[in-house]
């Protein structure tokens, strides 16, 4: 493991003073998010109070309203948030994994087995990200209706997979391109077949890229709103749609409820990113084998 430590130490190891300075900068940067999280524990009056309240009596009412709401008759009924949350996790998770698998294979092929007009393919793939989603929504809506995909899990998962493919492919290709082909060649000479080379030699070297791609893809999918609004049914609806429900109606923005949903909804992405962070930070582990 010694080499890995060495790779970490590149421009240098810094101490607590550095942590302090970075910490202050990070906190300033994080402040708006912190404010949203604090707002989740505030009453409406506290949330909008000026001068702003950094210290206040916290309330859990907002979190309660995430899960339950009162009917006119005064009964508390479930809001369906749990279902939305599970939907988000399932749809997000599936489409990210799909995009990673399909995208990485394609990226490897684009890098190692260039097709005729390789760059053109790559560019066409990129163009699919260029249009504002609103202008293709009607044809997609139409297609979903005709194929019966509207309101189904599979439809929205495939759609999100397609969203994530361009970035996955471009990102992973750039990582594969940067690998030293000599390592692969020598592995082949040692008798490894192509699959082995891919799985045992190449893939471990691009874990950082995979981690970064996964994080980005997850973030994109997790927060997607427009297609979720239009293409999910009441039982496949995701959290961003529920979030939009906290805006407008009898009251402008339900600040506390919105913040509570935002805070809860941050947790899974936060955890996934934290877990993958090790990969993100180690870069290409065998530092010496890059070109």
């Amino acid at each position: 493991m010694a080499y890995r430590k060495a790779a970490f130490r590149k421009p240098g190891q810094a101490g607590w003073l550095y942590s302090l300075v970075t910490g202050v900068i990070a906190l300033i940067y994080f402040f708006p998010v912190l404010w949203m999280i604090l707002t989740a524990f505030k009453t409406r009056s506290d949330a909008l109070a000026i001068p702003p309240k950094l210290f206040f009596t916290p309330t859990l009412d907002n979190f309660k309203s995430v899960f339950f709401r009162d009917t006119q008759a005064g009964d508390a009924v479930a809001t369906g948030f749990v279902q939305y949350f599970v939907n988000s996790a399932f749809i997000g998770g599936s489409s990210v994994i799909l995009a990673l698998i399909i995208g990485t294979l394609a990226a490897y092929a684009f890098s190692r087995y260039p097709l005729k007009g390789n760059d053109t393919y790559m560019f066409i793939i990129l163009t699919t990200r260029m249009l504002p989603p609103i202008v293709v929504i009607i044809p997609i809506f139409l297609m979903f209706r005709v194929t019966g995909l509207s309101g189904s899990y599979i439809g929205i998962i495939l759609l999100y997979t397609a969203f994530n493919l361009p970035f996955s492919i471009w990102m992973m290709k750039s990582f594969f391109d940067d690998l030293n082909p000599e390592i692969e060649d020598s592995a082949r000479l040692d008798g490894s077949n192509d699959w082995k080379v891919f799985f045992r030699i190449c893939l471990p070297q691009v874990l950082a890229g995979l981690a970064a791609t996964a994080v980005f893809a997850l973030i994109l999918t997790w927060n997607e709103f427009l297609f979720a609004l239009l293409l999910t049914g009441s039982d496949t609806r995701t959290v961003p749609v529920a979030m939009a429900n906290t805006i407008g109606g009898e009251i402008g923005v339900d600040w506390g409820l919105l913040s509570a949903i935002v805070s809860l909804f941050l947790i899974p992405v936060f955890i996934v990113t934290f877990v993958l962070q090790k990969q993100l930070l180690r870069g290409v582990t065998f530092g010496t084998i890059r070109k």
Binding site: R44, S45, Q72, G80, S234, D235, I247, G248, G249, E250
Partner: protein, 490 residues
């Protein structure tokens, strides 16, 4: 008809269970029919779902369920629009903004109800019981004016009927009793302006925009200055009304100024003979619009950004930053709710100010709220069941329950109920204001008209152009667009 498992029932299962015995008893011969309705997700529609689950039993004996697809308010139009344009045919009923009527009627999505109403005495009774302003704004296309509807009653010979009120809305004044009824405040106000501050809702019946301006001047306070019986804990402002670019958040108030000053908007009821040029930028309109702009001076500084919408002023009022605002009745409930409002125990409601013209106060306002309509792709049996749901919703019993739960009713008999005014603190004013309602256009071009006008109004609100310039631009644009559409001809 789709017969999908009902997911909404899951969330509302408690109420749905109460209907279960009927299902068992009648399932041997009753048909399962789901009436799915697209609706914005808020109190008035949630009430409709909950109340239907609890009380609705189809008179036909069929097993009919009202299943509302709740859609977030900010994106309600997008969802409905995408569904209709793609031919999804998912909904049997739709809550529609009154302005969308032309758009979706001319594209063949909303069902004309004339023959159906003509064949049904119960529906005719309902039509006769509905307030004429609501029949005009919510039901007729091409639009027939409220005055005409009132004259002929049902049936009007030229009217095509489409919708029914789901939630009729008007705007009223919200004001702070602790300030307007404060003796000290009243004394200084009277010394400066020669009249009393209106303390009781009745006192507001003589209030004009000139008085409103005085309230604005009088109640403007800097942080730390005396306010009522205490001190202002931040800058405090006298008055505000909507003046924002999104949606129709300035048009709704500016139209009121046009009408009250004797001007008006392009009149769709007399197309193609009604011009836009000279009407939209008439001297009366310019004067009214200028008045609207002048009064923004006394509003909170957000007025200068063109972002002072109906929710922004509601929040500022609830946070105790403004003495009086003009806003929708629909937004009143949170203001008197201790959980959301700092001034919940000090808020009262009154009719909005008007303009003194020819010795009378004109309070004409722009109708808010939403009708609901039937769609065109259903078979006769479903249409019949949907109309039974309409009758259930517009029955006096349901409507009274709706008003008591914080909703509003369009039925004159409910408005005239002796207890009606006691069911909500703004009901008396809402009822009074219904007499003053006009609506903006219902033609399919309405969104284009609205967007351009909101943009020009916004430029004037943020001080980039004058009232005259803005209205000239609006008139020129409307003239060209409506000529292209064949709605203005010489």
């Amino acid at each position: 008809m789709e017969h999908k498992p009902m997911t909404l029932k899951r969330t509302l299962s408690v109420l749905a269970l109460t209907a279960a015995p009927f299902l068992v008893a009648e399932s041997a011969w009753a048909k399962d029919i789901t009436i799915r309705m697209a609706a914005p997700d808020w109190g008035p529609t949630r009430f409709m779902q909950e109340h239907a689950n609890a009380t609705y039993k189809a008179p036909s004996g069929n097993n009919v369920q009202l299943e509302i697809d709740f859609i977030p308010w900010p994106n309600f139009f997008d969802r409905v629009n995408a569904s209709l344009n793609s031919g999804e045919q998912k909904y049997q009923m739709i809550v529609s903004d009154s302005q969308w009527l032309g758009t979706f009627i001319e594209s063949g999505h909303f069902l004309k109800l004339n023959d159906l109403i003509a064949a049904d005495a119960e529906l005719q009774a309902i039509m006769n019981n509905l307030h004429p302003a609501l029949v005009s704004g919510y039901s007729t296309y091409p639009n027939v004016s409220a005055a005409d509807i009132e004259k002929t009653g049902y049936p009007h010979p030229d009217a095509n009927y489409y919708g029914f009120p789901q939630f009729p809305d008007t705007y009223v004044t919200y004001y702070r009793t602790d300030l307007f009824c404060d003796e000290g405040e009243n004394a200084t106000f009277k010394a400066a302006y020669g009249s009393d501050l209106p303390c009781n809702p009745d006192d507001w019946e003589s209030i004009t925009w000139d008085d409103w301006e005085n309230f604005g001047k009088h109640f403007a306070r800097k942080s730390g200055e005396k306010l009522g019986s205490g001190t202002a804990d931040g800058d405090f402002y006298g008055i505000a009304y909507q003046a924002a670019k999104p949606l129709d958040f300035s048009t709704m108030q500016i139209n009121a100024f046009f009408w009250q000053f004797g001007g008006g908007i392009w009149d769709e009821t007399t197309q193609p003979n009604s011009p836009a040029l000279g009407v939209v930028n008439s001297a009366e309109n310019v004067e009214g619009f200028q008045r609207f702009l002048d009064l923004l001076e006394y509003a909170p500084p957000i007025a200068k950004t063109g972002q002072m919408g109906i929710f922004e002023i509601q929040d500022l009022f609830m946070q105790g930053k403004i003495a009086a605002i003009v806003d929708w009745v629909a937004l009143g409930a949170p203001v008197i709710d201790p959980a959301t409002s700092k001034v919940h125990d000090r808020a009262a409601f009154a009719v909005p100010p008007g303009n003194m013209r020819d010795g009378k106060i004109d309070r004409t306002g722009n109708l808010g709220g939403q009708p609901f309509v039937l769609t065109t792709w259903n078979d006769d049996e479903v249409i019949k069941e949907a109309l039974d749901v309409v009758k259930w919703w517009l029955s006096e019993e349901t409507q009274i329950a709706a008003v008591k739960a914080g909703g509003q009713s369009g039925l004159v008999s409910v408005l005239n109920n002796p207890d009606y005014e006691s069911w909500a603190p703004w009901n008396a004013q809402h009822k009074a204001m219904l007499e003053w309602q006009k609506d903006l256009w219902h033609v399919p071009e309405f969104f284009e008209l609205l967007t351009q006008q909101q943009e020009e109004f916004d430029k004037a609100i943020t001080g980039q152009i004058s009232a005259q310039e803005a209205l000239d631009n609006v008139a020129a644009f409307q003239d060209e667009l409506l000529r292209d559409a064949g709605r203005i001809e010489d």
